[in-house]
Amino acid sequence: MDENKSQISAELSRELTLFHITMMGLGMMIGAGVFIGIGNSISLAGPGGMLLTFSLNGVIAILTALSYAELSSAIPKAGGAYNFARLAFGRGPSFTAGWMEWFASSVAGSLYAVTFAIYTIRYFEGLGLLNWLPFSNQIGEKCVAFFIAVFFLYINYRGASETGKIGAFLTLGQTLFLLFIGVLGVIVVIIDPSRLQNINPFLPNGWSKILITMGFTYVAFEGFEVIAQAGDEAINPKQNLPKAMLYSVLIVTFTYVAVAFASIIAVKAGSPGVDGPVWEWIGSFKEKGFGEAVSRLIPFGNFFLTLAVIFASVSALNATIFSATRASYALGRDRMLPKFFARISPKRNTPWVALMYTGGIVIAVALFLPTQDVASSASIMFLFLFFLVNLSVIRIRYNMGDELSYGFIMPFFPVLPILAIVCQAVLAVLLHHVSLIAWIIAPVWIVSGIGIYYFYSRTRAISTADEILVLEEEQSEPEEEQYSIMLAVANPANALELTRTTYFLSEAKNAKVSLLHMVPVPEQTPLSDAEKFMMEGKEGIIEAMLCLVLRFPITTTIRYCRNIARGIVGAVKEKRTDMLILGWHGKPKGHLFRLGSTLDVIMERAPCNVAILKGLGNQKFKRILVPTRGGPNSALALELAGVLAEKDDAEVVSFVVKGIKSKVDAKKVTDTIFERPHINLERIKTKFVKSNNSAEAILKECEAYDLIILGFTRDSLIRQFTKETVCHAVAKKCSKPMIIVKASGGIRSWIKRWL
């Protein structure tokens, strides 16, 4: 083994695939804008005008998405508009970008809270369950908006999040549901072409209204910019960030147009309750117009629609709260705002002060502004923000185009960003027709921000190491052929105990060993900042490493991640580990997980050999039991047993339990395994037992041994959910030191791989 490999490095766990970050953008975009916007825009612009509104807004959104895509590919580190503006124009505009982003995201959060409230109240009102309320439904909506906002502020304080696979699949479900509505609309028209009459007159109020409706519905297209904040955690960020942004705008635009079309033709002209043109009827319900239309399109439409709106709005609310919190946290961290904005809760590791102030904005806007003004305020702020980003992309390309390493550049430069700037300026100006309040709030906020910068931030902002944030991805060195073992340590106190066994294995394999310590970081805190305050994990692992380095040559990595299991699996893949070793305390949590939520996932997904050590300590083992069923896991168990037996001069017994009525030739099972390489046959004896309960037979046999090495089960997924496996039954009940192993490529079913 090479000597003097003792070093500690810190790294961030890249866990987000293209699918995840695309869903992240989609989840933010499909929050409220379309649900609120359809009714309001059709009343102003008519049916054709509404379709044009969403189509043309999609074009403007894709122009800005191109700017974000180009900048994110060149500057993939988390930060978004704040970092882009800093690079392009310096600290002043950078502060303005962050200041606007904070407000825009907060107000968007208000909109999502209000949307949730409107559709929830609407549903229960439709069921006749709200007649007892001593106040009007409008007050009820404000109350519900308040409580849902407070709830998600609390969720964000705790650090919990629905992101990850569950969140991504929820967003996928929402999108598919909306697309289903669109497809249904097309089917209805094919069956009953007379519904197309609902589109006439195409533009009852003329072309001029379209620009106004585009302005206040533009908020439906904001959300893709949050993908830029995933730069620290996305896999292949230079390629995947731009792709995700563009894909999300594409999917959302087509979805909105389809849904808008379905809303128009959902109701047949002359139906009961529909007096006059259908578009006027939908428009009369304002923000509830979409719900009224779609509930007539599908059976139980009201219920499904309410469910979809609830999921979409809470998902987007959760995302905007932590996006807004991050924006103000970043300003506090860089001392552009008072440093208490960067305060992290020692208990929850979340930026609680930034969260509190963000919550203040979310709740105040949700409670005190009418819905249309909330939507307009959010839209206008995002229009200004995107205006700045489009300017930044032009300046950065001209000033730094030769220095940066781009993963993508936009076509027709600089025509497209200039076009985006002009369109956004026009939309912002025309918004005063819809909401004068928005046109007062937005400039007041921006001007106050400029004032804060000049009188406070300018003299206090600190220079950060990444003042100019051009982060190249590290080029990995060519991998050596040497066998690689990774020891993942959750509790540094256990590191020494685990390392003894690890070292024996590494000697036998002539392997290099690395020690990995995972530090989970809540979503609300940028991964790039975790290292500054996550000292707890770092100190512990440093102590362990200092102890170990005197005895074993070992490299140590601290890895900051969102989810420990995903982080470990990612590290295994990146470092091409041959064997992963972990410890286990021996107490499974809950009935859904066998060994634990982390270990189960790792056993399923790690693309290498895995060994879980329980209670080994520093003991020597003289008698080792290896329950054998055949297959690669048993073979690996016997191989490990051979290595340990060699060290401690121990006896190894391959223990085969055969069912009483089973016709399987047990000796054939062992013979097949013994033919595999790396198994030391000299030390292995075989023992056969007949029993219908394998777990009981093994547990009984265990008593006479010092160490049990067990192969992870190969039972089918369904069987594992309906009946406890032998491995788990033994692992739970056996008090002896134990190693559970899974061979690379063992346990695969397509269902498990997909899940």
């Binding site: 054709g48 189509s55 043309l56 006439n200 533009l203 594409l250 390309r397 185009g401 550049i409 936009m410």
Partner: protein, 52 residues
């Protein structure tokens, strides 16, 4: 079908088509940049102009 409907439908059709074209072109460009290991904007533009 009124004149507004015809013009409006064409605008919708071309808007959606434009978005789709941009996304497909961008995807192709991203893959090309990655494959050829292009770095600066100048290199990429030079390569795109050569391609077109």
């Amino acid at each position: 079908m009124s004149r507004d409907a015809i013009i409006g439908s064409l605008i919708i059709f071309f808007s959606l088509g434009f978005i789709l074209y941009i996304v497909l072109w961008s995807r192709k460009t991203i893959e090309r940049i990655k494959k050829k290991k292009l770095q600066s904007a100048r290199e990429i533009i030079h390569d795109i102009d050569g391609r077109e």
